[in-house]
Subunit: 163 residues, 4 copies
């Protein structure tokens, strides 16, 4: 049956649950400036669903996105790289929207290239869902292993604190 087929390691039932949960998470958004609600739900290998919504600020750059609220909670709960099976994001746009580049970068610290990102449009619904992997959304990414060891950097550059 359909429900046993796997999409990036997720069953149709799991995609359905993720879709419902991230759509529900939107209701908690604080977005008086953009009016654009976003909800995000993470699924861990241990079976936990951890959600977040966007939290804006009068100084726009100080606000944060749903994906970072969800991942912040997950990391605080003790989850680390390798613990995540999927990311799901729902917005108020009619078509499924992707996470912004900043969130892709934030998620990438903890999610491998093969972790699927499930994107859900305004009206939810399994049929309207778009799925891409982290590796597809942030190719050639800059991660922890991109930073050379400090001792090496200390020699190469100067980067010094002036003043």
């Amino acid at each position: 049956t359909d429900s046993s087929a796997l999409i990036h390691g997720l069953t149709a039932e799991e995609i359905g649950t993720l879709t419902a949960k991230c759509t529900e998470a939107k209701a908690a958004a604080y977005c008086p400036y953009s009016l654009f609600r976003v909800g995000c739900t993470l699924l861990t290998h241990s079976g936990a669903f951890i959600s977040g919504a966007n939290v804006e600020n009068a100084s726009y750059p100080v606000g944060t996105c749903a994906e970072r609220v969800a991942m912040g909670s997950a990391v605080f709960a003790g989850h680390r790289r390798g613990d995540f099976r999927a990311v799901a994001v729902a917005t108020d746009a009619p078509e499924p929207s992707s996470p912004c580049g900043m969130c892709r970068q934030f998620l990438r610290e903890f999610c491998g290239e093969d972790v699927p990102v499930v994107m859900v449009g305004r009206d939810g619904g399994e049929g309207r869902v778009v799925v891409r992997t982290m590796g597809e959304l942030l190719p050639m990414s800059f991660g922890p292993e991109s930073l050379p060891p400090r001792e090496e950097l200390a020699k190469v550059g100067e980067g010094r604190r002036k003043g």
Copy 2:
């Protein structure tokens, strides 16, 4: 007795609990870049304690602070402006450290000027705690009411050279 005296509306017992909880929250920090652990706990009027820790990123500006992780969770849980009685922050510095300016701005969206911020040094302990109000830490702050109505802004400036 001491324990019934109020400091910014907090009992000594509540300050003690906040101190313990934000110190404990530090243990969940993900800070392989700075090695500087920070924990934050919020106390709501409904009596809830909501915590967070810093979550760093290989691209340093993409990481987030303990205060914003805690407040992100609190807002996602439905708390809004007026719901907070206190903020508490513990770090790995020997002396109590204050929240960075970005976090003061993030907190300010939801905390009034009189909300106390309890700052705790590495070794915790009530005696070593420093307390300041949000208004003292972010005077003349830029908040929701600082932004003129959109209709007015649309008239004044142009602000929208979209390419």
Copy 3:
């Protein structure tokens, strides 16, 4: 005469020039989302005026403020801590607005506590200007010296990069 009196080390003429320049800088703002234009001008001890304006993004938290654009340019031009005599900020609000907390933190890395921040309302004009020092706007600030040495942090906490 008035023009020889010093306000935080600035002559009335210098305040006038700063006011004019940060007001003029507003015209370059890219703010299709907030419609709120902000301009910032820095004055260095070497006599240079360096300006910036806010640059917003469809993902609101990714945008940046006028103050950080100006200071980014100044640091790129080689200016460092101790090189700044004043910061001036103009917005589209009728009354003078202060920099957001994130910008206070960004500026603080390079400006001492006594550096004046000149705030200018929509209609400019010397008479309507409000001046506060960096120390007044970001008291008990978190700066470079707040971070204990790495070797000490490595011992105290663990902050480790989990896999």
Copy 4:
């Protein structure tokens, strides 16, 4: 000859100039925390080269990257979407590194999908350069057109539980 061949619309000579300029820009980096210097140079259709370097902060998330310093200056200078021919980035890593996700998002507001991003390793040199387009680095991106009109959003969600 080689120098007349075009790579994403750039001549080998232009790539050489971009490589040299972004490598040179690294020298202005303020990075006492990461010790990781990054330089960025933008080339506009009008022939201007505009550069930046990373500017870090004691509160790591408050710092900014080379790409955003360069683009902030460019936008302040009046450049807008459609004005950019290329982005070039050099770091202190031995292999060419890509911009972080936050910078990809910041650049994307002003650069079309076909704008090439030239990535340069520690030792520079044309032969070691990697080139990808904005569309390749930030596929399915979230841009200005991803946000539905405000009037529509005002109807769909509520998004404004102001306290």
